[in-house]
Every structure is written in structure tokens, then in C-alpha cells.
Symmetry: C2
Subunit: 164 residues, 2 copies
């Protein structure tokens, strides 16, 4: 469930979304898919539901294990759903954790196309904060090298306010 930790403080600040808020995000996601002619199917919805349930990045195999009330899902079911949700911009993959987190750019109902994002990842409580940043320096370096950037991974690891 939660990541183990050696610190002495608790991690209550890593609060979960309540079920009403999750339901709202799910139907919003469904609308977003339909608006783009994509299908929000049951396994995709279930996968998103499980990721929305945590405010921290979730491992693929945690989704797999919790997928059914009685038993685990098969890995391809979940990995395919994860790929779809990422393409739709509903979740982000966190490369340095091999995990997935719900996009926080849809918070107020606005449609956000797939986008680059930066993350502040707490090594103690596991919490994730998505922040919007522009990257003029790396763009400039890329341009100087004749490099065509397709996507950027930017992840800061450290300690959140509550854990420092």
C-alpha cells in the first residue's frame, strides 16, 4: 500500500482522494475520451480509478494485484490500459520510479492534451506534485546541437515540505 519509511513522522499528509472526487475525475476522463473519438473501456476506467486512488505514483503491479476484488489481472491488460491513459494525457509515467501517477493538470475540468510535465517526488512519503515548467535552456542546447526534441522527462527527487 504505502511505501515503507525509516523516518519518525507519519505520512497522513499523503491523503487519498475521496470516492466522490474520484467518480468526478472518472466521468470527466470519459467525456475527454469521447470528445476525441476514443473509447474509455472498463479495464481502462478501472486502471485509472486505482491510480486516482493514490496521490502518489502507483506501480503497474500494484494495479495488477488490486484490479479484481478476488484476484489479480493479467499484466498485458493493465500495461495496455496504462499506455492508453498516458497517450490521452490522463496519467504520466514516472521513469525514475517505474510508476504511474494521475495527471494533475485536469483538476478544474479543463481539457489538457498530452503534455510534458515536471514532478517533485518525495523519497520519504512517496508523494508526487506535478508542476508546469518551460525549459528554455535545454531547448537552446538541443537547438545548438541540431537535436529535435520529442518529449522530455523531468523529475526532481527529494523531500516534500511535510517530510523534511
Amino acid at each position: 500500500m504505502s511505501m515503507s519509511h525509516a523516518c519518525d513522522h507519519d505520512h497522513d499528509h499523503a491523503h487519498h482522494l475521496d470516492s466522490g472526487r474520484i467518480a468526478a475525475r472518472l466521468s470527466e476522463a470519459q467525456r475527454l475520451c469521447e470528445a476525441q473519438g476514443e473509447r474509455m473501456t472498463a479495464p481502462r476506467l478501472r486502471t485509472l480509478e486505482l491510480i486516482l486512488g493514490e496521490n502518489a505514483p502507483v506501480k503497474a503491479y500494484d494495479v495488477i494485484d488490486r484490479f479484481h476484488p478476488d484476484g489479480a489481472a493479467k499484466p498485458p491488460t493493465v500495461y495496455r490500459a496504462l499506455a492508453f491513459l498516458e497517450q490521452m494525457g490522463l496519467i504520466h509515467r514516472i521513469e525514475s520510479l517505474n510508476a504511474f501517477v494521475a495527471c494533475q493538470g485536469h483538476a478544474d475540468g479543463q481539457v489538457v492534451q498530452p503534455h510534458a510535465a515536471a514532478f517533485l517526488l518525495c523519497d520519504c512519503c512517496g508523494s508526487s506534485e506535478e508542476v508546469a515548467v518551460s525549459l528554455p535552456e535545454i531547448d537552446q542546447q538541443a537547438a545548438a546541437s541540431g537535436f529535435e526534441t520529442r518529449r522530455v522527462t523531468l523529475e526532481a527527487r527529494g523531500l516534500c515540505k511535510a517530510c523534511r
Copy 2:
């Protein structure tokens, strides 16, 4: 050996270091370790040698497979060496590729402590370019959130000049 590709051009621009240049980098690495009271042992040297041999990120299991002339090394041997080399700032882990690349910040013999770096990673030929960037925006965002950053991963994926 090299990564497979569907493009029609060749990847000769992904040239390797010649053996003399590798030897120079290895002895330089050895001096750097000794200067810090660390031991550059045989498996560590061999691991670094194999990584220096490519100008592209190398998979851990590629190192494992090539470690001995006759057979493969055991995974812990190589993973331990990789951890050491990374701590010494001699290699960097590329999170989005699960691979390792030699640090390019030691090129002219200057000692470079473990440092953050950004990478331009070509999805076609697999080449990697290490670039130095400062990150004022993410530092600012982190400060605003009370987040204490320990280390940053910044990887741009795309197409290098030769492959676009």
C-alpha cells in the same frame, strides 16, 4: 550490439572511442578514485571500459554478457560496479532507457564531482549527448512548495542532427 532501427540511413556517426582514448579515460578514472580514497578494482574498471566503448547508453545486461571473453558475469558483480561508478560521477544512469552512459564531463582531465546532467537521447541511433543546464524554474517551483531537491533527472528524447 547497436540498437535496431527502421530508418534508411546508417548510423556511422555513432562512432566508438578508439582503444587508446579508452585507456586514457580509464587511467584518469583510476587517478580520480585514488584521489578520493576509493578503490578502482578490476570489475569496476572492466565495467567502465565496456561503457566507454560505446557513445550510447549501455544496458546492464549488455555489460554482463560481454564482461568475460568466454562467458557472462553474474548480475550483482556488474550492478555493484555500476552503483560505484555512478557514485563517483564516472557514469550516469539514464532512467528512461534503463541504461548507463559514461560521463562526458571529464573529457579534458578535469575532476568533476557527482553532478546532475541533462541528456539528449536519439531514438533512432541511440546516441547520447550530455549537456549542462541550470534549472531555475524547477528550483523556484520546488522552493515555492517547500520541497528540498536532492537530485534531478532530465532527459530529452528525440532525433539527433544526423538522424532527423
